[in-house]
Symmetry: C2
Subunit: 191 residues, 2 copies
DNA sequence: GCTTACAGAATGAATGTTCATTCCGCTGTA
DNA sequence: TACAGCGGAATGAACATTCATTCTGTAAGC
């Protein structure tokens, strides 16, 4: 196995094990096994478990951002962009349940809390389409005049809940139901 | 300290430590310390950590249910009941941030998954005002015709997100903003 | 009223287990 | 032969849980 290939295997295995069993249910030995490498080998690529975890998070964020960006047209009207972005993320999560589960684990952990705090306090410049969309919507009086955080909550709250329910097999989403759900979110957000 | 008093101290300490540091950041020794009892003492009241955790969850659920029930009038129109239930839970969470943080930890853990699975598959008869409310709303054609799980997502998704943001000091909610937020949820759910 | 005996509670040091991380000998390659 | 890269056993720290011991309150015996 070549060097970058091995690194990839480790990342893939970590994603799978952690998504399925949580940070604490996924010992390094288990990840190493799944990746088909020795336990010590992981430490040739990642200084420690924490760094593996945050690095993996960053890679996922990147992937999702890239996936959603394809097909996004910032010139379209607000409502249309909102529906696109909503269905795109939800679609990504449904197509990549492991990614979704991993993100959830991450967000609900001390790692995620720190990360979020940084982001809100602006330590991370985020090239965020969503922020831009909402700010535009409020300015054009198409969207309710709420603080950004509440608009996010009204959108991503249902989105993530629905993705979770689908991935855990509590409901079955088809394209029509997805669209209707995002439209309902829009009803909550629009003026 | 009397016997039930001591049990209470243990439960209170467990709530606080777990809410603040997560299940894995709250060793039994730490909980015992906070409760002012010996480590072994906890085991006189709870067979093991798992049982302490699930028992505490049940107690919290009970408290919240009781708190919200006060002032709920099943005779009122759907919209009014929806707004009441929304503000009531959100208000409870804001007044009891530890309870909220604990519930979140619980839901995002294997404990919570199992619990949820049981609930959905109907193994727990739940005397759920929310379910009843939505079912009534759909029947009266006041509420969009969605599966129950989606209506829950549209309501609790934003609610929990907003509660989290407030408790972590990412936003500040006042009564007016709370009401407007719940109204926005209603916009998402109503026909 | 005072002392002694005893049962049930409480305690916390000791135990065994589960990891993350380290270390050193091995192997395939140049 | 020399060496980079690996593997996986060894190490030590962090815990949950146990259990031999200590404490406390109650009640019988005087």
């Amino acid at each position: 196995m070549s060097k970058p290939e091995k690194r990839d295997e480790i990342v893939r295995a970590a994603l799978e094990m952690i998504a399925e069993h949580g940070f604490h249910g996924a010992p390094m030995a288990m990840i190493a096994d799944k990746a088909g490498v020795g336990a010590g080998t992981i430490y040739r690529y990642f200084e420690n478990k924490d760094l593996l975890i945050t690095e993996l998070y960053r890679e996922l964020e990147e992937r999702i951002y890239a996936a959603v960006l394809v097909g996004y047209d910032p010139e379209k009207p607000i409502r249309e962009r909102f529906l696109y972005l909503g269905t795109a993320v939800l679609g990504y999560f449904i197509a990549n349940p492991l990614d979704f589960r991993y993100l959830e684990q991450f967000h609900n952990s001390p790692y995620g809390m720190a990360y979020r705090r940084d982001r809100i306090s602006g330590k991370r410049e985020d090239r965020d389409m969503y922020r831009e969309l909402f700010e535009g919507g409020v300015a054009q009086q198409v969207v309710k005049d709420f603080p950004l955080a509440i608009l996010f909550a009204l959108t991503f709250g249902p989105l993530l809940a629905v993705a979770r329910d689908h991935i855990l097999n509590f409901i079955v989403l088809d394209d029509e139901l997805i669209l209707r759900t995002i439209e309902a979110c829009w009803d909550g957000v629009k003026r």
